[in-house]
């Protein structure tokens, strides 16, 4: 992503590019654990979608489809909130590494 020089910035730190946090890949913070989606256990209650602080739950229509790892920080809230006894989201080990990704 090309970063503006100081002359190109709007004065007063004002950011007019509403919604530009999509460029901020919060998934690069994740380390240690990541959520894994088990479709067969999912009751499509959307609790994970509702609770996820980073809008990293992928949905299509009325179905939960998985996790967007570009934005998932691995906080585990989705797994905690998942209601079924056999959870549809479980936290699994992930190799610790800094994930290098270019912005969308």
């Amino acid at each position: 992503m090309k970063k503006e020089n100081w002359k190109e910035l709007t004065i007063g730190t004002i950011n007019l590019d509403a919604g530009n946090s999509v460029k901020n890949l919060t998934g690069t913070w994740r380390s240690g654990k990541k959520p894994e989606f088990i479709e067969g256990n999912c009751i499509h209650c959307f609790f994970c979608w509702l609770y996820c602080p980073h809008f990293a739950i992928l949905v299509e229509g009325d179905k939960v489809k998985g996790i967007n790892y570009d934005y998932c920080t691995g906080c585990g809230i989705c797994s905690v909130e998942c209601p079924p006894k056999e959870k549809a989201i479980v936290m699994v080990k992930e190799e610790i590494k800094l994930i290098e990704r270019s912005a969308k």
């Binding site: 970063k3 004065i11 007063g12 730190t13 004002i14 950011n15 007019l16 509403a18």
Partner: protein
């Protein structure tokens, strides 16, 4: 029609506020600026101003209210002094960083400890790197004139930077002076209508004010901020000139007093410059070739302009009403000495700290400084680069 009124410094600021009638005034009372806040509150209660008057629980909150109101798109002002300005500290930097043209009247007062309510420049000098434009006043008339000009400077589209106007605590804030108060309509016309640039109340435009920056953007945003104050010198000059054309009192970055054929010179700001003028008049009548340079704008500092005036002097004494412990001289001195460095022709220069905690500086003290300057000019030697005036040694 302008009118002559007998007002003290605080009242002149309040009078200017009444004439400008900003959208929001947020302030917490503190000596010696209390009467500014008190008078504005009275104007509001009497229906003489229509702007919102907010009295929060502290100066930190007062500046926070100013920042919020200015971000929303309002013309905003506050007044404080000393510990109040100190309590505003972190918010001062935010006001400047967000390029909000907030105006603050500061009745300059010393900082604790020990507790002291009297005038010196410790409060605003401490804020000198906060990014605010700083203008200092010699008397009540200048405080009024500077305050009116502050809005024009701060709100200029190339500048958009907060401005503080200093008036010495008690010596100006509480001293009566016959001043010319300009006509309400003429003042309104001069100050003009305020047009915010990115007001938050403009709901047609989505935006974020004050987002987080890490190593990738903070530096660029800071450089972008610095540009505002760097753009201000021509604006300050133009506004000072226009003020002169309209109201008959022209202002620049500094005032030169009897400098034409001067060989030695005293540099001093604010109220002490008035006393210094009397001292210089007396010494001139004794045939001494001495002059005064009175800086008015401290931020942005007019380095080259002031160095051009001082370079031909044999000896210069810079008098500071604040100290900068551990530094190579007090704030005004280090600026001026640094400004002269690039000139091959430059004077001997010394620094005296005076008037901390409101300690008097009198005509006799300026004469003592002149004697020292004469000795330095004669011998070409500086024995003591840094000293104190009217201090029990």
């Amino acid at each position: 029609m302008s009118t002559q009124k007998i007002l003290n410094g605080n009242q002149t600021i309040a009078e200017a506020v009444r004439q400008i009638d900003p959208d929001v005034m947020a302030a917490y009372p503190i000596t010696p600026s209390t009467a500014i806040v008190e008078t504005i509150a009275k104007f509001k209660a009497d229906g003489l101003i229509s702007g919102e008057f907010v009295c929060p629980e502290s100066e930190h909150s007062a500046m926070s209210v100013c920042i919020g109101a200015a971000s929303a798109g309002g013309r905003v002002m506050t007044a404080t002094a000393s510990q109040g300005l100190a309590l505003m500290w972190e918010m001062l930097y935010i006001a400047a960083g967000l390029r909000l043209p907030i105006i603050a009247a500061i009745a300059n007062r010393s900082l604790s400890a020990p507790i002291n309510i009297h005038g010196d420049h410790s409060d605003t000098m401490g804020a000198r790197d906060s990014g605010w434009i700083q203008i200092y006043s010699e008397g009540c008339q200048e405080a009024y004139d500077n305050f009116l000009q502050a809005f024009r400077i701060a709100e200029h589209l190339d500048v958009r930077t907060p401005v503080l106007v200093g008036l010495d605590g008690f010596i100006i804030s509480h001293s009566m002076e016959v001043i010319t108060v300009e006509d309400d309509d003429e003042v309104k016309k001069f100050v003009g209508e305020y047009k915010p640039v990115y007001p938050l109340l403009d709901t047609s435009r989505k935006m974020t004010v004050g987002p987080i920056d890490f190593t990738d953007y903070y530096f660029e945003h800071k450089r972008n901020q610095i540009e505002g104050i760097e753009n201000s010198p021509p604006v300050i000059e133009a506004v000072g000139k226009e003020f002169g054309q309209k109201f008959g009192r022209e202002y620049g970055f500094f005032e030169e007093y009897r400098m034409d054929d001067a060989e030695i010179c005293i540099v001093v700001m604010s109220s002490a410059a008035g006393t210094c003028k009397d001292a210089i008049d007396e010494m001139r009548s004794e045939g001494k070739r001495i002059g005064l340079v009175k800086p008015r704008v401290f931020r942005p500092f007019p380095h080259h302009k002031i160095a051009d005036v001082l370079k031909k002097q044999k000896a210069v004494a810079v008098l500071d009403r604040s100290s900068s412990p551990g530094a190579f001289g007090a704030p005004l001195f280090t600026e001026i000495r640094s400004a002269l460095y690039d000139y091959t022709e430059r004077p001997k220069i010394v620094n005296y700290v005076y008037g901390l905690g409101g300690r008097d500086i009198k005509v006799e003290h300026f004469k003592e400084v002149a004697l020292k300057l004469e000795k330095i000019a004669d011998t070409g030697k500086v024995e003591e680069i840094y000293g104190y005036i009217n201090l029990r040694e």
